[in-house]
Symmetry: C2
Subunit: 434 residues, 2 copies
Amino acid sequence: MAPTAVTPVSPPSPTLDSTSKLTKAGTENTIAKTVSNTAPAVAELDASKCTITPTLNPKRVPAPNSPEVWSQGYTSDHMLTARWTEKSGWESPEIRPYGPLSIMPTASVLHYATECFEGMKAYRGDDGKVRLFRPDRNAKRFLQSATRIALPGFAPEEFLKLLKRFVGFEASKWISEPGHFIYIRPTMIATAPALGVQKPREALLYIMMVMFPALDEPTAVPTSPSSGTQMGQEAKGAKGMRLLASNHDMIRAWPGGFGSAKVGANYGPSLVAQGEARERGYNQILWLFGEECYVTEAGGSNFFVLWINESGKKELVTAPLGDGVILEGVTRASVLDLVRRSRPDVEVVERKFTMEELIKAEKEGRLLEGFGAGTAFFIAPVADIHFRGTDVVFPLGKGGDAEFAMGIKKDLKDVMYGRASHEWGVVVPEEKVY
Amino acid sequence: MAPTAVTPVSPPSPTLDSTSKLTKAGTENTIAKTVSNTAPAVAELDASKCTITPTLNPKRVPAPNSPEVWSQGYTSDHMLTARWTEKSGWESPEIRPYGPLSIMPTASVLHYATECFEGMKAYRGDDGKVRLFRPDRNAKRFLQSATRIALPGFAPEEFLKLLKRFVGFEASKWISEPGHFIYIRPTMIATAPALGVQKPREALLYIMMVMFPALDEPTAVPTSPSSGTQMGQEAKGAKGMRLLASNHDMIRAWPGGFGSAKVGANYGPSLVAQGEARERGYNQILWLFGEECYVTEAGGSNFFVLWINESGKKELVTAPLGDGVILEGVTRASVLDLVRRSRPDVEVVERKFTMEELIKAEKEGRLLEGFGAGTAFFIAPVADIHFRGTDVVFPLGKGGDAEFAMGIKKDLKDVMYGRASHEWGVVVPEEKVY
């Protein structure tokens, strides 16, 4: 494996090395003060200015399901970077060899979590074309997250152009086979080397591609708990996810907080609870909220329940947006759209619902299916939920199936892999570089 | 200023460069799985193993109150680093030239806010000795914060030894004059290059020293709003801080969250509200919580009010610990201890109190003083609070003084600068290296 690992530390890069700014901050402030009254025009993010520096050390593409892929750290050959400063705005984006970032120990991102990201995938369709799934939604949310964490804004359409350019540059080598996909991680971090708790003055936007296993497939290889990925794989496939409901002393998000933004601050603080869930044999935490034990999200995914409601109708329910607790997932929105359009027999509601309702539905035989919905784990059916001494078991956990969830999954996959023509599947033009 | 700014990008450092681990993750997992059953002994943090690599490019010490100092990004010559891996535990700590970190774009800290820090100061006393103020409290809290964010643990006393060693190494040059101080920032970040949302497998602990202006002094230089530091300086000195009360749509922390831990996730999400406060002419946000509008913290400081309570007694009140919303500040604890010990005329209570109580007290002429208490801003008296159309004005804001707060400040300063002998002031042995 050695050859792919020798990505060298980059030489001091003009887009990343901020040491030369260190002692200039004071004088720059003075300048900024003078100029700010005249509203200086700073550069906007501009995809047409993107430059390309190809790698001189191409990496090997690891086999699907190999340890490198399971590490969730094996990237493609390049990354796209764009630097921003308060003074000058966005510099020219650059596609360049993937490698370490040079970040000052004082950088805001390392202290104040001034960071946000997106998660998406690119798919090689049966027709040989590469597609993104509703990337406009990710672009819009990326901007919203950046704004929530005081990072700089940008035109979502320019970001989208950059994303397509980057994917089109890497795709022929890194998603070479129909039916394959790769995970894409756009990220923005605050890099200015100063400890003041203040709005970022320098930032770096970067996009990278990371090989991911198909976490939703029954063929997924079980790994040790300590090496586990987001959901753990032990209970995948036919049996479904096992969820541990969170306690009052571990709350993921709060109205007026930032649970609806894809910012780092939502993830790190969840790791302790998640680790406890794993140790107790569960795949993920089911995040509850309030004395009422409202059901919110499952791990890093939105959460859906299919049941017969108290009026005797088949209903799909998920927690509502609006109070800042729930992430507006692209998969979540697509599931809602799809079911509303194609399943007139199923009522679709976005409302608060509680563990008590789930328990009652199970007792009365009305509980049909539960599933997580997100990019990394796609559609992940749930077997059971452990809630303070009680197990709420879905039919899947009793040897049944998850036909409804699997149907949604198939429909979405058909769009992703070009088996069904749909505006959600956006074809990316490729540059033949390899 | 050029000479001090040419800190080069470090050559690939064995303690920081994680690229060589990239493709080994998979195989390491297998090993970890095998070994984990036999509970392998991993190395503890050990201060006695600390090595020293002195800088070859010593920096100039900037003048107090110079632009470099106001930038809050000008560090001393060295930093202390210690790397940790899940497999091997803590590696030997190292004091080495300050410079950029090489961090992989996939590192957990850049995506999931797996980071925590401490804030403290070292003071050169009138007797020529260097002191830390209650550093055992910072060491203990640093461990608590690391644990809350799933970062590795350590023996607080070993951390304390490292801290003293580092301070003792830098002090003769960087805190050369009696009455001077420097800010110290211990930090821990998760560095493993993998995108799985999981407990960090690699981490870096580092300690650095940053030149800080005396943010609490009336002599503090006003700077432009865009260059402002944590509190802004315009309203400092005689007039005191102006606070803007937060709205329901912007909550700093919640019960069951992580407001009591010094983790990055508490800071980044506060920047938007803070920026709005600055633009409206206030220095900081006064963070309220709940429908009741409980008063919690002011900016990054704990918040105290001195008033005549409804029973007619002089009372010092601050929000209580225990539900995870309030940071257990070292200055907070010291103010409480000091007043309880030295001011029998003042009752000291830690309880929830609301904006309504403050407004009532002001109307009835019972409001005496308000002040923020923390390491960076020390004791910062408040002039007024703007709360939804109403201004709650302290006597200081009407031309009065803040005698009580200033008295506390003097007493604490006497300990910090060795003017009064007290166990809170911990002398640091110095190595004469410059």
